[in-house]
Amino acid sequence: MTGSREALPDVDGPGLTLGDRAAIALTEYREGNHQALGGLVREATPLLWHTVRAQGVEPDAAEDVVQSTWVALVRHAESIAEPKAVLKWLLVTAKRAAWEAVRKHRDDEKRRTELPDDSPEHPMALPSKDPLPDAEVLRDERDRLLWMSLQKLPGRCQELLRLVSLADRPDYRYISAAIGMPMGSIGSTRGRCLAKLRTILDEQGDFSWT
């Protein structure tokens, strides 16, 4: 793994993103600093949690999926080919484990209820509905408007924007790739999702933002 260090961003440089910090943490871990992952776990767990939840995994199972994703990182620390892409690796690993959890959960439920499976679609295409925000949770009228506007977007746009909002913006390429957006159209896809959201917000007419 010597040499990979040079390909990493300058630690002292400005504008380190979560993806950069993840790469540095993995490299330091490989070099024997076993405390190096602590900060990354604290920082990236919310992103993994919401990635898993977006696949329709119930909260209890989602906790275990996130936990097992971190365990998988440690187990594969030496074999991850591109430390620079470790954030994407984490997101893809979490997402696949989430799909598996959804599939198993459905199988279990099916066995238990013995009902015919009348939804032949692939489970991946059927994430559960987003939890509805409690009015108590979103007291601010602007927050409610923003959340309702988000719900009007296509599902993939919602997922992309929610996850991008939790990372540093330059990391959108990892997040987009991890959730299956074609690499060539990432910039425009991100733009379309944000543009649609802003259009919907603008259509709220005379709503006061101040």
């Binding site: 992952l37 119930e58 209890d60 199972a61 275990d64 365990v71 187990r75 929610r162 909002s165 543009a195």
Partner: protein
């Protein structure tokens, strides 16, 4: 957070026309995403102990034990509850026993958590198929405690301090490799 959009200067009233789809994020996009991050966290907050459980799970990763999966079912009527839900319910209803099931390939381990003296927890476990098993209880900052199962696959830890814990199960004949439960809250 101020979400005041900047007036659309020259481009006319339509915000979407002023937005270059391939362009960089502007300041308003940034504000919007920042606000969105707050909403995402407010609507579906990350469980408070998830980071600590993950950190402890990482320290156990060196044990080379395959992770078991907790079995979660929708209805609590089956007497099987999620580990996380069981842990949360424990705070408010300590008198009630909780049962959690873990599976890995052909091995299934059920544990029942019940209150013990001094605010501690008793763990009764049962593994199937029945075999001689060594069950290790791992807790952060504590020595590993081992219990041997009887021939029916039953084992117990009488009095365990509350908090994060993971069980590692090994066959006494050395076959099959070790498996571990996810880190749970006792």
């Amino acid at each position: 957070m101020d979400l005041t959009p900047e007036p659309n200067k020259d481009e006319g009233a339509m915000g979407d026309l002023s937005f270059d789809p391939k362009g960089r994020l502007d300041a308003e996009d940034g504000l919007l995403l920042t606000r969105l991050a707050h909403l995402v966290e407010a609507v579906d907050p990350v469980p408070s102990d998830l980071v600590e459980r993950s950190l402890f799970a990482i320290t156990l990763a060196g044990l080379e034990a395959d992770l078991m999966e907790a079995v979660y079912l929708d209805t609590p009527l089956a007497g099987v509850r999620g580990a996380a839900a069981a842990a949360r319910a424990d705070d408010t209803a300590p008198a009630e026993a909780k049962t959690i099931t873990f599976t890995h390939d052909s091995l299934t381990v059920m544990i029942s958590l019940s209150p013990s003296a001094g605010g501690r927890v008793r763990i009764d476990g049962w593994a199937a198929p029945a075999a001689g098993l060594d069950v290790e209880l791992h807790r952060p900052g504590a020595d590993v405690v081992t219990a041997a199962s009887d021939e029916d696959g039953r084992f117990a830890f009488d009095s365990v301090e509350r908090g994060r814990a993971s069980l590692v199960v090994r066959r006494t004949d050395g076959g099959g490799g070790a498996v571990s439960t996810p880190v749970i809250e006792l």
